[in-house]
């Protein structure tokens, strides 16, 4: 009797627990799913509905479509795989150094490594060109040393230019996602393995690597999708001989006004993204090891043995040179005057100048669309902060929901990743088509731009937070609850401190994604509120040395702003 009562009671509690669990899951998912439905699925759906009908009317045969798709699709996969492998090859050792060693200038170097992420492709291309172009520093140097008549380095418009630029852009993803996880790792695990007689290599392979695997896979997926939907880099660094799907979509939609074909191509791109994400989900499936992370970086230590020191130094020098040289080339160009009177003199004459910066503050042509640099910086900052708020506000519950199981999880997970693989051109046109009535109107609703930015930032937020959340042992917050802490307090005192570092990475990603975004902003922004990247493009689209210099000056300001802000975010939160 007593026994059966007890059993009933347990069953009731259990089913109530299940219902509460389901409700919580629903609540956590409600906001992110609603956001994605309205601001991603709806506009894309409308474009697809419009274009598919027209595409079928055009009666192009599948054969023809395959002909149009085959080459760009193949190249898209080819370059994305190569780029991702190279990024991992370079990024993982760097992540190791950042996750295991103390060294001087650690924070500065990490801030520097985020800078490429925000730079518009035009500017990065200009930076690489100043370094490796036909008349770049290196070529001039080699021609001078070896008395060559032709530049020895052919870099621009090659596959290696595309790959280099992709590594340059995405290194920070590996560094932050994997490096951050590594830093949080409990060093005693490896120490225990070593004590038990495992070799250094075995301890790494059987202890550290399995724990880091989710982070490595998350970084790989992010990098791959970024490369997969790459557009600017292919166009500007690869030149006209290379075309990815995204480039083909751009040409069809905006140059040939062939929206039907553009729509079908972007559907194919989206389908590939979906398949990649689902495959990734299979790989990451399986139970995750739950560990208490170390909060203050006890795992970090200075390099001791000379071989260690040598390796760390070499890696750091490589990273610095790789990241800094194109950036420095830009900044130097923004304070250098080239050839005062080109019409009259042949030789290149250089001198230092602040003219370009001074000129930024003058509206010489009394143009209606002149933007003082401070205003452009403020617009960029406000959009970026709104993006942080939006993507963290939506990404945090989504990341928790993803850890709560259920068969729907796989699809929700994929839905969250899809925006990374969606064609920016198509989505932009979808916005224009869908949001044309108040209150959600492109030209008056102020949050559309941070919303578009958040779509790109969300996958980063979720991917950085999710492995960290699933690694938190539930026993911790259970203990807190047992000691009388209400759920909110348990979260604030237990989860939040543990999540601090991944949250920091997520914040920095959201910030930089928004600060550097150009495509959606140029399509949706009111001309009165241009961002820094838009101001840079405005200068670059007109001839004249002063315009070029001002674009470089503006790009330097953008890097400074980003550097300072990322530094502050890191300083405040960790």
């Amino acid at each position: 009797m007593a026994e059966s009562l007890e059993r009933d009671g347990a069953a009731v509690t259990h089913s109530r627990g299940k219902a509460a669990e389901a409700l919580l899951f629903l609540l956590l998912w409600l906001l992110p799913a609603a956001f994605l439905s309205v601001f991603f699925v709806l506009p894309l759906g409308r474009i697809f509905a419009l274009t598919f009908g027209a595409f079928i009317d055009q009666a192009s045969s599948l054969q023809e479509l395959w002909q149009a798709v085959r080459r760009p699709l193949g190249f898209t996969f080819y370059q994305a795989i190569l780029s991702t492998l190279l990024t991992l090859l370079m990024g993982l050792p760097m992540a190791f150094v950042f996750g295991r060693y103390h060294f001087r200038g650690r924070r500065l170097l990490r801030v520097l490594s985020t800078l490429p992420f925000i730079l518009p492709t035009v500017v990065v291309a200009a930076g690489f060109n100043a370094l490796l172009g036909p008349r770049g520093w290196l070529n001039l140097l080699f021609m001078d040393w070896f008395n060559l008549s032709q530049p020895p380095i052919l870099f621009l418009n090659t596959l290696s230019a595309i790959l280099t630029a992709h590594v340059f852009y995405n290194l920070t993803i590996v560094l932050r996602v994997v490096g951050g996880a590594w830093e949080n790792l409990d060093p005693r695990l490896e120490q225990a393995a070593r004590t038990l007689g495992a070799s250094e290599w075995r301890a790494f392979w059987e202890v550290t690597f399995p724990i880091l695997r989710p982070s490595i896979l998350a970084a790989t997926l992010l990098v791959f999708l970024f490369d997969f939907s790459s557009f600017g880099v292919i166009l500007l660094m690869g030149g006209p001989r290379f075309a990815t799907l995204e480039v083909e979509i751009y040409i069809q939609a905006l140059q040939l006004l062939n929206l039907p074909l553009a729509g079908v191509l972007s559907a194919i791109q989206l389908l590939c993204t979906l398949l990649i994400t689902l495959a990734h989900h299979r790989l990451t499936g399986g139970q995750q090891v739950q560990l208490t992370p170390r909060l203050k970086g006890e795992g970090l230590r200075p390099a001791r043995k000379w071989a260690e020191k040598l390796a760390v130094t070499a890696l750091l020098i490589t990273l610095t040179a790789f990241i800094l040289s194109p950036l420095t080339a830009l900044s130097v160009r923004s304070v250098t005057r080239l050839e005062a009177n080109r019409g009259e003199r042949g030789a290149v004459q250089t001198g230092l100048t602040l003219d370009y910066y001074r000129e930024l503050f003058i509206n010489r042509r009394q143009s209606l669309f002149y933007v003082p640099p401070v205003a452009a910086a403020r617009n960029s900052l406000v959009y970026a902060l709104e993006t942080i708020a939006l993507s963290l506000g939506l990404g945090l519950p989504a990341a928790y929901a993803l850890n709560r199981g259920g068969s729907a999880r796989r699809w929700l997970d994929a839905l969250l990743m899809l925006p990374l693989g969606a064609s920016a051109v198509t989505l932009g046109l979808g916005y224009v088509l869908t949001f044309n009535r108040p209150p959600l109107e492109v030209r008056s609703f102020p949050l559309l731009i941070p919303m578009a930015h958040s779509l790109v930032a969300l996958p980063f937020v979720v991917r950085t937070l999710r492995p960290a959340i699933s690694a938190i042992p539930p026993s911790l917050s259970q203990a807190a609850r047992t000691l009388g802490a209400p759920p909110a307090r348990a979260w604030l005192e237990v989860d939040l401190p543990i999540l601090s570092r991944p949250l920091l990475a997520a914040t920095v990603f959201s910030f930089t994604v928004s600060l550097g975004e150009f495509g959606a902003t140029s399509l949706l922004a009111r001309p009165e509120f241009p961002t820094l990247p838009i101001a840079i493009y405005r200068f670059l689209s007109q001839p004249g040395a002063l315009n070029y210099g001002q674009a470089m000056a503006m790009a330097t300001l953008l890097m400074l702003l980003c550097g300072i802000c990322v530094f502050l975010i890191e300083k405040i939160t960790v």
Partner: protein
């Protein structure tokens, strides 16, 4: 759970500050920043209202009752591309005279702006569209996005620019896409400047020309059209094949061609000839780092080497503000706006009564016989030509 790992929740070192407070600070900063940024999009006030035509703001301290406010200004929305620019005072003046408030919607390049107008033609987002050029014109007309308007100012515009006889699209400005060359390079090598498209295939010009990909760049397309117009559909590909054999360099966009490859722009590029605009030499003088007495570049103006781009304005079908839209179109075709065009957008006014600025008269040249093609032909053959060009030049 292994008790080993749970044993130390808190780090051994004394915590300086709990991470939580850091996030609080960040949240606080965020709230402060978004609250105090005056031009923040969240508190967006159109720039025009601050300099609104009538000073309606009455200080609160004065006891006098507010004057009867004049009728609210009517908002006119003008959709255009990123390169649109105008002197601020001109727009303010128009707003004042017509009790209007002009909002400009910029939507990327010509292609994306036009796409936007076409996609939203059922419920137009603007009243006037400016910036469709002759390569896109017949597509825009076929889509039926414009209402005809026979502006009185059309009489001041030469017939050669009026490509739409029913005045749905009215010409505003024109520019010639020409080959620019580096004067210093040609002078120092003692090399003659090419005088025809055919000249460019001669061995002495091997590797000296950079052009833009016509599939991704508007001047690139214009230059391709010039060759189609000159050689005819039958043989233009042969010409491109021989250009290719003569070391032709192709890049995707004007920015790369001009700033990276062209030798006269920053003194660094390897090619002394680039496809750009006839007005670029004037821009080089106006935007020089230090005053120049002479343009460092010039355009090749020989017959058929340039292609003329004409840009049009039109009233979008379905506008509720037809009268004001007409006034704005008149304003764009009238002399003050037309004279403002050259130094703002580096193209030429179509109004024959508009005077050119001194820099244009001195440094920019206009070809006497630019190539041209029927917009309807361009619209129907564009894709085919681009495909063939791609196969010939890039594969």
């Amino acid at each position: 759970m292994n008790p080993l790992f749970v044993s130390k929740i808190h780090p051994t070192r004394a915590t300086r500050r709990s991470p939580r407070s850091g996030w609080m600070i960040l949240a606080l900063i965020f709230i402060l920043l978004s609250a105090c940024a005056p031009a923040a999009p969240t508190t967006a006030v159109p720039a025009s209202t601050s300099i609104s035509p009538t000073p309606t703001a009455v200080p609160f301290s004065t006891a006098t009752p507010p004057e009867p406010t004049p009728a609210e200004p009517v908002e006119l929305v003008v959709m255009t591309h990123d390169s649109f620019a105008v002197t601020e005072s001109l727009i303010r003046e128009f707003e004042q005279t017509h009790n209007a408030r002009i909002t400009f919607l910029k939507s990327g390049d010509t292609g994306s702006a036009l796409n936007r107008a076409i996609l939203t033609k059922e419920s137009p987002q603007a009243d006037v569209f400016y910036g469709v050029d002759n390569t896109f014109l017949s597509r825009a007309l076929d889509e039926g996005i414009f209402e005809p308007y026979d502006s009185p100012k059309l009489t001041q515009i030469p017939d050669q620019f009026k490509l739409d006889a029913s005045h749905r699209a009215l010409p505003v400005d024109y520019g010639d896409v020409c080959i620019n060359y580096d004067k210093t390079y040609f002078a120092s090598k003692g090399l003659a400047v090419p005088q025809s498209l055919e000249d460019l295939t001669r061995p002495e010009y091997h590797g000296l020309l950079v052009v833009e990909n016509p599939a991704t760049s508007s001047p690139g397309l214009a230059f391709l059209l010039a060759t189609v117009a000159h050689f005819g559909e039958g043989t233009y590909l042969d010409y491109w094949a021989s250009l290719r054999n003569n070391g032709l360099v192709v890049v995707n966009d004007w920015e790369t061609a001009y700033y990276t490859n062209f030798s006269a722009s920053s003194g660094k590029g390897p090619q002394p000839m680039v496809v750009s605009y006839a007005s670029s030499p004037a821009a080089e003088v106006i935007f020089a780092e230090s005053p120049l007495s002479e343009a460092p570049t010039a355009s090749i103006l020989a017959p058929d080497t340039c292609f003329r781009q004409i840009e049009f304005v039109g009233i979008l079908k379905g506008t509720a503000k037809r009268a004001l839209a007409e006034q704005f179109v008149d304003f764009m075709l009238d002399v003050p706006f037309q004279e403002d065009i050259p130094l703002q957008m580096f193209v030429y006014p179509v109004n024959s009564q508009a005077k050119l600025p001194e820099e244009f008269l001195k440094y920019a040249q206009v070809p006497e016989k630019p190539a041209s093609l029927d917009p309807a032909l361009i619209a129907s053959k564009r894709e085919e030509w681009l495909k063939a060009w791609n196969e010939t030049v890039l594969r």
